[in-house]
């Protein structure tokens, strides 16, 4: 602002210098961003075109790594798993978050709402690694989940949830849902608090019930907040690593292998840095391909 004002006062001659002054202020940020974000990103793209073990000499292979991505069943299935996780990381938290936020809003003033908010937000404060460890105890054969099932007479259903091919991925999904519900609830609750109460009053005068109110007023007004929730959680699902690494390490078999974990294995245990980079680049493209349309759809209509 001040640079602009000064520039105008000094006339046309001094304008270029004013622009440089602005760039000078932005320079530290630009340099940091270029060094720590843009450069690694471009290096990853570069590496993805080579066959390289991370230490020795590398060989140029062009797009071969990307081709292998499409033909290798294990690599491809990891991407499919990531999309399956969206249901748990994104679908459940947003729907449940809407329901919980709408409920809490009604009792907003009471102490119960404060407690509910605190409890729901707690998973956000706990490091994901700790959450993963805690849940792998809960879901183990002798864990609370199985004890509860036995207690209510469903002993036949007990199993090693994270060690079973059929249940491992959903079990990992449940951990993610548990972590993200609180974030969504809080975001949506904040969004609800800025809706004009007059709207609800008018709706009630028109004879609308709680469901109608929710569908006609709450939901449309929360468009942007829902957009943020969906964006954040979809990215969390596609780029998931920590929860899976702690809970199952991709097992059993490759039942819970996700791209984030696969990149890590490729780069550090298989020592195929080129292949790992190719998968990383693909993951970035996939995340953008999913998130950009969501951003567009949920942009405020007005």
């Amino acid at each position: 602002m001040s640079a602009q004002v000064e520039g105008r006062r000094a006339g046309r001659a001094r304008r270029p210098r004013a622009i440089w002054l602005g760039w000078l202020f932005a320079a530290p940020a630009i340099i940091m961003y270029a060094t720590f974000v843009i450069r690694p990103l471009l290096l990853t793209v570069q590496y993805s075109l080579y066959d390289w073990n991370g230490i020795g000499a590398s060989t140029w292979v062009g797009l071969d790594n990307y081709r292998r991505l499409l033909t290798d069943e294990d690599l491809f299935s990891s991407i499919v798993h990531a999309f399956e996780l969206i249901v748990f990381f994104s679908g459940i938290p947003v729907l449940l978050g809407l329901f919980v936020a709408a409920t809490i809003r009604d009792i907003a003033a009471s102490r119960l709402a404060v407690i509910a908010r605190t409890v729901l937000f707690l998973p956000q404060v706990i490091p994901l690694v700790a959450a993963g460890i805690m849940w792998s105890w809960l879901l183990s054969t002798t864990g609370t989940a199985n004890e509860l099932l036995s207690a209510v007479g469903l002993g036949d259903l007990t199993r090693a949830w994270l060690g079973d091919f059929d249940t491992a991925l959903p079990a990992v999904g449940v951990i993610g849902a548990w972590v993200l519900v609180g974030l969504c609830t809080l975001l949506l609750l904040a969004g609800m608090s800025k809706i004009d109460p007059a709207l609800y009053e008018a709706a009630r005068l028109d004879g609308a019930g709680p469901v109608r109110e929710f569908l006609s007023i709450t939901l449309p007004s929360l468009r942007q907040e829902i957009g943020v929730c969906v964006t954040v959680t979809v990215i969390a699902a596609l780029a998931s690593f920590d929860i899976v690494y702690i809970a199952t390490q991709g097992g059993p078999g490759n039942a819970t292998m996700v791209p984030g974990l696969e990149i890590y294995y490729l780069a550090f245990s298989e020592r195929e840095v080129g292949m790992a980079s190719a998968l990383a680049v693909t993951l970035v493209v996939l995340v953008l391909a999913c998130v950009l349309p969501i951003q567009r759809l949920t942009r405020d209509g007005s």
């Binding site: 760039w23 630009i30 073990n53 183990s140 994270l162 199952t248 059993p252 294995y265 020592r271």
Partner: protein
């Protein structure tokens, strides 16, 4: 607007300049100036001198042996102090190449060595071996750490050294064994099968074995079964990346089918696919099952926690009187090719194998057989302890020449990416023995090529 265009082109120019400055467009890698493998075989003196030395070491977390040895060494050679970094083995495996390239420790716990040698990251120890007399030790002790010019292990220059060498077999709970009338270790595979069945019939979990996460512990019984049916040497050739070696052989198929029978007969705990190593150990120590497949590194621990109640035997052969074989490998430590105090590190490795105090520690703390000359001092161990049993078993393996490296050590990725998922699928009934061996062999060939 001129203003907008200028700033946009300026921005582009600055970003481009930054990028050109930061990303030189040369291909990645080749920055280590790899000293070609096979050099520095001239006799070298190993000494820590008298001036203060700080040995930089990278140890494995959870094993007290290297730390105990380091402490004792400093007691005897006060001019040597330690700068120790510790990590889990899986982390060390992943870090090894980068750490050895960027920040080489003097002494490092190593995963499998051949890939590190190919990249010129490890010091050739032949010079020390000559001057320190390691060449006079039983050849089998050092064989696994020799790597040839073509990357095949078992022959060629020495690139690492063991703190001791460990061996695996079957531990059993003596009280539970008595319950099913097992008074002595099974002599044949068929006897072992009978014992397993009896345990199951008596309502005792026959085997607890870790097989969850990225560590497929069923590789332990599988490799033992492979050795019961076939030749240990052929398995070693495969692990050592000898050309033309394959894991997909008729006897290995028999072994895998046998393992599958154990699985379908319910000889493993039903949650074997979610069991980790710690769970396996705690259940065994609590007396919840009869057998575990594990190594003598737990001997000292088991002697403490279940004193008098643990037995150990080597995997029985398929035919009575057949040769015994066991996974047996040195606790491998190497010296970085660019290490600062290589001479002192080599001196330490020699001290571990030859000093009386050090050999005591190797047995009592490490639970395994020390390295060194065949006639070297051996500490006395308590009669009837499991440590005594594992040390005695080690002698049998020596006689039968049945030491094998672990099939998980064939390449850097074969364990986490092939054996583990395949064995987990076998447990879940999603894989059959034929396809399992076929898949592992395919992955192996792919990885060895790299």
């Amino acid at each position: 607007m001129a203003h907008g265009t200028t700033s946009r082109s300026l921005l582009t120019a600055i970003i481009l300049a930054a990028l050109v400055a930061t990303t030189a467009c040369s291909p990645p890698g080749g920055d280590t100036g790899s000293p070609e493998p096979g050099t520095s075989a001239a006799p070298a003196t190993a000494t820590c001198g008298t001036a203060p030395v700080t040995l930089k070491a990278y140890f494995e977390t959870g094993f007290p042996l290297p730390k105990s040895l380091a402490d004792e060494f400093t007691k005897q050679y006060p001019n040597v102090t330690w700068d120790i970094r510790e990590d889990q083995f899986a982390v060390i495996t992943q870090n090894a190449p980068r750490v050895l390239a960027d920040d080489p420790p003097d002494l490092m716990r190593l995963p499998q060595v051949s890939e590190l040698v190919k990249d010129g990251l490890l010091k050739n120890l032949d010079g020390y071996a000559q001057t320190l007399g390691w060449t006079g030790w039983p050849g089998s002790q050092l064989q696994q750490m020799r790597v040839g010019a073509d990357g095949e292990r078992g022959d060629g220059p020495l690139y690492a050294m063991g703190l001791n060498f460990s061996m695996t077999g079957v531990f059993y709970n003596k009280k539970l064994a008595a319950q099913i009338g097992m008074t002595e270790p099974p002599a044949t595979l068929a006897d072992f099968d009978t014992a397993l069945q009896k345990a199951k019939d008596a309502g005792i979990t026959p085997i607890n074995q870790f097989n969850g996460g990225a560590t497929g512990g069923l590789a332990f019984p599988l490799q033992n079964l492979m050795a019961a049916y076939g030749d240990a040497g052929a398995i070693n050739n495969w692990i050592f990346q000898r050309s033309g070696a394959t894991i997909d052989t008729p006897t290995n198929l028999q072994a895998t089918q046998h393992l599958q029978r154990w699985i379908t007969s319910g000889f493993f705990a039903p949650d074997v696919n979610s069991q980790d190593y710690a769970t396996m150990m705690s259940r065994f120590i609590e007396g919840k099952n009869l057998f575990i497949f594990n190594g003598d590194w737990e001997s000292g621990n088991l002697d403490k926690q279940m004193a008098g109640n643990v037995g150990f035997f080597l995997m029985p052969p398929a035919q009575a009187g057949g040769k015994r074989a066991a996974m047996s490998a040195p606790l491998t430590y190497g010296i970085g090719s660019k290490a600062k105090n290589a001479d002192c590190a080599a001196f330490f490795l020699n001290w571990v194998a030859t000093d009386q105090k050090a050999r005591d520690i190797a047995v009592t703390v490490g639970g395994s057989h020390p390295m060194g000359p065949a006639d070297a001092y051996m500490p006395a161990v308590q009669e009837g302890s499991v440590t005594a049993a594992t040390l005695a078993a080690g002698a049998v393996i020596g006689q039968d020449n049945g030491a094998m490296d672990f099939i998980a050590n064939a390449t850097g990725a074969i364990y986490a990416k092939s054996w583990t998922p395949q064995l987990q699928k076998l447990v879940a009934g999603q894989q059959n023995p034929e396809a399992l061996l076929d898949e592992v062999q395919k992955d192996y060939e792919d990885q060895v090529k790299n």
